[in-house]
Point group: C2
Chain length 158, copies 2
């Protein structure tokens, strides 16, 4: 594969969330109480077997309503452009999103979760278990983000 290749994926499900538009969706999901439903299409339901035993999931999705692409982002406060890969914004070359969510309950092919921060009808591409021994790091530096959100450089209790 090279830069001209196309990676083709198919949605495995869809988010049902309280946020009807991207503008209504919060910037980040950490600590959010409203429940969203992750509907996994029936042909993939078997892949959820035993997921009830997991408290936190990583959801990968496609920002389907994001039509603007950019390589830079500028905060109004500092007017200095920063690279899009140093942000979590949707308008990146491949508009993929990632959220860590809390699994509240499963009913067949529906996962009820908290801390999902995207608009209704967002297509889901993958679900993975969140595993602290794989995914957590200490001594993290968050670059220019620290100027605006210094608390984000370490774990935030609810």
């Amino acid at each position: 594969m090279d830069k001209h290749s196309i990676v083709e994926l198919r949605p495995i499900g869809v988010v049902h969330s309280p946020y009807k538009t991207p503008e209504e969706a919060p910037c980040q999901g950490r600590g959010l109480v409203p429940v969203s439903e992750l509907e996994i299409f029936s042909e993939y339901e078997a892949g959820l077997k035993d997921i009830e035993g997991f408290s936190h999931l990583i959801v990968l999705y496609y920002f389907h309503r994001c039509e603007i692409r950019s390589l830079h982002f500028t905060m109004p406060q500092d007017r200095t452009p920063h690279g899009i890969f140093t942000t979590r914004l949707p308008n990146r070359p491949n508009p993929l999103g990632l959220s860590v969510v809390t699994l509240v309950a499963r009913q067949a092919n529906i996962l009820r979760v908290k801390e999902m921060d995207v608009a209704d009808k967002t297509p889901i591409l993958d679900i993975k278990p969140y595993v602290p021994g794989i995914d957590e790091r200490r001594g993290v530096k968050i670059g220019w983000l620290k100027l605006f959100w210094p608390h984000l450089s370490s774990f935030q209790p609810d």
Copy 2:
């Protein structure tokens, strides 16, 4: 979008790693010392601006050499099938991979990183900053994974 829709993405770069085949690549990257290079194609290099200030990145990639898809995975030790969405294996419906890596150095469009655990020539789809205040959780339950890897339910120091 629905289950019949196709999401089209293009690689933004490619991994150069010491592992020539998927079989040579380690199961997980946590604590790995060998350095891999993330080559970001020149047309996206501007999106890396200021990334030097970040110590850890989330890399999303496509398991391009994974041709088998499955909804289940069975450990030889317990013979009980588990849902593929409770694993981090590549042979999922959309073969997307996610690694948290340590940024060692940047040289123009090349990011030298540790803890990357994939085969050489793996296409990169996205890079995001790893942000503890967004991505970290406590009190995590890891379901059936705990039977085999009990240490993974909490942070592992190197």
